[in-house]
Amino acid sequence: MDDPAVEGRLASEGVHSVLRGSPLAMVMGSPVHDFPDDLYIPPDALEVFLETFEGPLDLLLYLIRRQGFSIVDIPVADITRQYITYIEMMGELKLELAAEYLLMAAILTEIKSRLLLPQPEEASAEEHDPRAELIRRLQEYERFKAAAVEIDMLTRLERDVHEISCDTSQIKTHKVYPDVDMVELLAALKEILKRADRMTHHHIQREPLSVRERMTGILNKLHRLGRLPFSALFDVSEGRAGVVVAFLAILEMSKERIIDILQDEPLGPLEICALMSHEEASSWS
C-alpha cells in the first residue's frame, strides 16, 4: 500500500513498539506500555512533556494520582520504576534535565532499598517509614498546587474587572505652597552678609532700594508700553525726591545696558526704550 497516511501510522507505531519492548511500568501488578493517554506526545516533543511539570514533585504527584494511588499508600517500587523510565527516556533524548529530577530519582531508589531492609522490631513502623518525608513533601506540594489553581480563579483586576478612572483636567487644583515668614527671609539675608563679610571680593552694590525699585518699575512700564518719552517716566506728584530717584534709575539702567536713551534729532525729545522686547523677556523660563 502506498497510502502515505497508512505509512505514517505504521511509522509512528514503529516508534511505539520500540517503547513497547518492555512495559513502561508495572502498575498494581499490570504492565503499562504507553504514556498515559492525556499526556501522550510524540517522543520528539518530550520537551513539551517536561515543561508540563513544575518539577519532580509535580511529576511524581501526577504519576501517583494518575494511577489512582494514595499518597500515603505510595507503592514506592512501582512509582520509582515509572519515574525512572520517564527520566531515562528524557535523558536518552538529550533533554536537559533539571538536577532536581535526578536527585528525586536517587531519593526514590534509596527509599525503595530501605523498604527492602528488615526493620528493627522495637521502632515504631510509622516513625521509621522511609517514605514519611517524601509523603509529607508530596502532600504539602499538592496543597499549594491546588491553591495556585484557586488563586488563578479569583476575580482579578486587569483580567476580569477593571479599575475606573476619569479625566480630571477640569479639576482646578490650587498648589499649596510653603509659608515663608519675613523673619526667615531676613535671617537668610543675614547669612549672606556674614558670608560676604568673609569674602570681601564679593561686593553687594548697595544702591538705595528706592532706586532699585524704580528701575524695576520703569522696566515694567517700558515692556508694557514700548518706547516712551523721557518725560513720561517721571511723576511730578512724587516731588523732588521721586523725580531724582527716577532719574537715577534711568542713569543706572543706561549704565548697565538695560535701556537705551534715544534722541532722533539734535535737541529733540529724549525717548527711552528697553534693550529687549518683552517677548524675549517673557520667554525666559
Partner: protein
C-alpha cells in the same frame, strides 16, 4: 452637592482605592462628614450602581470603583496585551508566599522541589504584590517575602483571611489517614504547625 456624588467624583478622579479617612480629608474640618455618614453615602452609591456597568468594591486599601466582570469581553479588546496570564511557577511561588509568609526563597524551593527562578521573584516584586519584609537570621541572611495590600487589592480581597483556605487532600485509598496525622505531628516541623487550614493567623502576624 450631594455627599455620595462627591465621593463618587473622588473615586473616579483618583483611579485608586480610597479609605474612609481619605474621603473625610476631602472636606474642610468644619464640614467633614463622620464615618457613619460616609458609610451611608457609600451604601447609596453602591445601590445606584446596581444597574450600571460599574460596582463599588471594598478591597484591602479602601473602596474602589471597578467595571463589572460581565463587561470584560469588550473591555479586554481595549488593551493590546492579554493581561493576567501567569505561569504555574509564578502562581505557585505567589501562593506559597501568601500562605507561608514571611517566606524565604529557600522555603519556596523546598516546597516546590525545584529552584525558583530569580525572574519570577523579580516580576512579583515589580508588580508590588510582594515585598521584602526582613531578613532571616541564618547564614546568608536571605530575604523574607510577604504580600502587600496591593496584592490583596489586585485579587479583590480585603485581607489574607479571604484567601481560599488551603485544602487538605483526603486520600480515598489511605485507610490510615490517622497514621498520616501522627506522622505529620511527629515530624516536628514548625512550619507544619504554623500552616493552619485557613490563613487567618497569617493575617494577624502580617498586619
Amino acid at each position: 452637592m450631594e455627599l455620595k456624588h462627591i465621593l463618587e467624583a473622588a473615586l473616579m478622579a483618583s483611579g485608586r482605592p480610597l479609605t474612609l479617612d481619605e474621603f473625610g480629608r476631602l472636606f474642610d474640618e468644619a464640614e467633614r462628614p463622620n464615618e457613619a455618614e460616609l458609610l451611608m453615602a457609600l451604601e447609596h452609591m453602591a445601590e445606584e450602581y446596581q444597574w450600571r456597568p460599574m460596582e463599588l468594591k471594598k478591597v484591602a486599601s479602601g473602596y474602589r470603583l471597578q467595571v463589572r466582570e460581565a463587561y470584560s469581553p469588550w473591555i479586554s479588546k481595549l488593551f493590546e496585551e492579554r493581561p493576567g496570564r501567569y505561569s504555574r511557577a509564578f502562581l505557585e511561588t505567589l501562593v506559597i508566599i501568601a500562605y507561608r509568609q514571611p517566606a524565604t526563597r529557600g522555603e519556596i524551593e523546598e516546597i516546590r522541589g525545584v529552584a525558583v527562578s530569580s525572574s519570577i521573584i523579580k516580576t512579583i516584586l515589580e508588580r508590588e504584590w510582594i515585598e521584602v519584609i526582613g531578613h532571616k537570621e541564618v547564614p546568608g541572611r536571605p530575604a523574607l517575602f510577604g504580600t502587600t495590600a496591593h496584592f490583596l487589592d489586585y485579587f479583590g480581597l480585603t485581607s489574607l483571611a479571604e484567601l481560599p483556605p488551603l485544602k487538605e487532600f483526603i486520600d480515598p485509598l489511605g485507610g490510615e489517614s490517622a497514621g498520616v496525622d501522627a506522622l505529620l505531628t511527629t515530624m516536628n516541623q514548625p512550619q507544619t504547625a504554623a500552616m493552619a487550614d485557613s490563613p487567618h493567623d497569617l493575617n494577624n502576624s502580617h498586619e
